[in-house]
């Protein structure tokens, strides 16, 4: 258990240092509030609208893909850990390798599908694609 105690200690220290720095800074720094200072920065212009805006859907698509593949790595890691020792203990290559190949194969099909359906295509502006088709037609 001691290793986790040490890691916990590291966690404490890792929080403590930034907080300590903040405190030190709070003692040192001046405070001169002024209207103009606290405006959000928009390249010197007066800020327009809120920053809580709707965002490109592609960020969400990518996040979804991440969830899928990240989870895949969760399931791959245990396999990689035992892979060699299982082989050394006499498990046949087929029994130890095939399931993971199938597993990855399924995900590859998923990736290819997502790829073809534009899940990882960043620019999906209708205008751009229209221009593209026009070019092809011309």
């Amino acid at each position: 258990m001691s290793e986790w105690i040490a890691i916990g200690a590291m966690g404490l220290v890792a929080v403590g240092i930034p907080v300590g720095m903040m405190l030190a800074s709070a003692l040192l720094r001046p405070s001169v509030p002024e209207q103009g200072k606290s405006a959000t920065y928009e390249s010197g212009e007066v800020p327009t609208g809120t920053a809580r805006v709707q965002f490109n859907i592609q960020y969400y698509m990518v996040a979804l893909l991440f969830v899928v593949f990240d989870i895949e790595t969760v399931l791959i890691f245990p396999w990689t850990v035992i892979y060699r020792s299982a082989l050394e203990q006499g498990a046949s290559l087929g029994t130890i390798l095939t399931p993971m190949l199938v597993f990855i194969g399924v995900l590859v099909i998923g990736l290819v599908w997502a790829w073809r359906n534009g899940a990882v295509k960043w620019v999906k502006s209708p205008q751009a694609s229209r221009r593209k088709t026009e070019r092809q037609d011309a």
């Binding site: 001691s2 890691i7 920053a51 990689t80 990736l111």
Partner: protein, 349 residues
Amino acid sequence: MNLQTVLPDTISGLLGLEGIVGDVVGGLIGAFLIANIMLITTALAGPWAKRKITAAFGDRIAVNRLGPFGLLVIIPDAVRLLSKELIVPEGVDRPAWDIAPIVIPFSALLGFAVIPMGNGIQLADPETGLAFAFAAASIASLGLVMTGYASNNKYSLIGALRAVAANIAYEIPLIVTAASVVIFTGSLQMSEIVAVQAEPLVTVAGVTIPTWFAFVNPFAFVLFMIANLAEVGRNPFDIPEAPTEIVAGYQTEYSSVYFVLIYLGEFIHIFLGGAIAATLFLGGPAGPFLPGFVWFTIKIWAFFLFTQWARSAVPRLRVDQFLEIGWKGMLVLSFANLVLTAIIVGVIA
């Protein structure tokens, strides 16, 4: 399996403490020690090394007034940054805005808890060390989202989302490549990974080359370095900050010590990336003649130099190119690497 005594045990042994008290005290002291090593490293890298390197690329001189090579600039810089006024912009989401600068260095420092730095400088050596290191490093994404969301600034939001998109796009290649190394080691324990690499691979002309995985599987090493570069957000993958596009990305609205902390976190992250790369591929603290800790320091500084070189020498990618390389290139290659490694290992074994 503990190949060597970890730092807290050494400390508690020195102090003559036992049981849970020893664990706690040893752990705290050890953690403080390691954190300070990293702080010093970063202090060296941030205000000084970075300037010098960048200047060298531009054939300039940069800091040279205080101390040898201007090294002592660190001290006035630290004082300067800490004593700046903290400007809180309008409409920020205060708790998140305040916590984010803590989260980012926290994540990087936490990752160092399991890194073996040589000469017994390793805070903890859990069986799941590698997974822990990655997990700890990923917490940074949370901090990034907090900065972007809380700042109430469009640049920040774009920067944060880009940062997260970048992190998640390259995290999978990173981890999958690491998995291909785990196939060789059969363990996630950091000390075990290092130990496996100590065995001799081949002897050429009397020089014994160890089984560093950078030699065993150079392809994986290259992949890992590229992904790592993206993870730490340096050129050509520095779209989250992209100064010419979105000012400073997620840190646009941060100033004073908050800015320092985020900056610090980023630098520790670079070193953490280097540390993981060194552990996985370069035999950790191993090396001839010099003590382990020195070798380790050299290796992580080498990675730092690599990032700084990339920063100055390589142009930035567009965001769409960046993500397409991640999803369509790196991901596929890393899986190919994993499968091929598994097959080759299986056939040979």
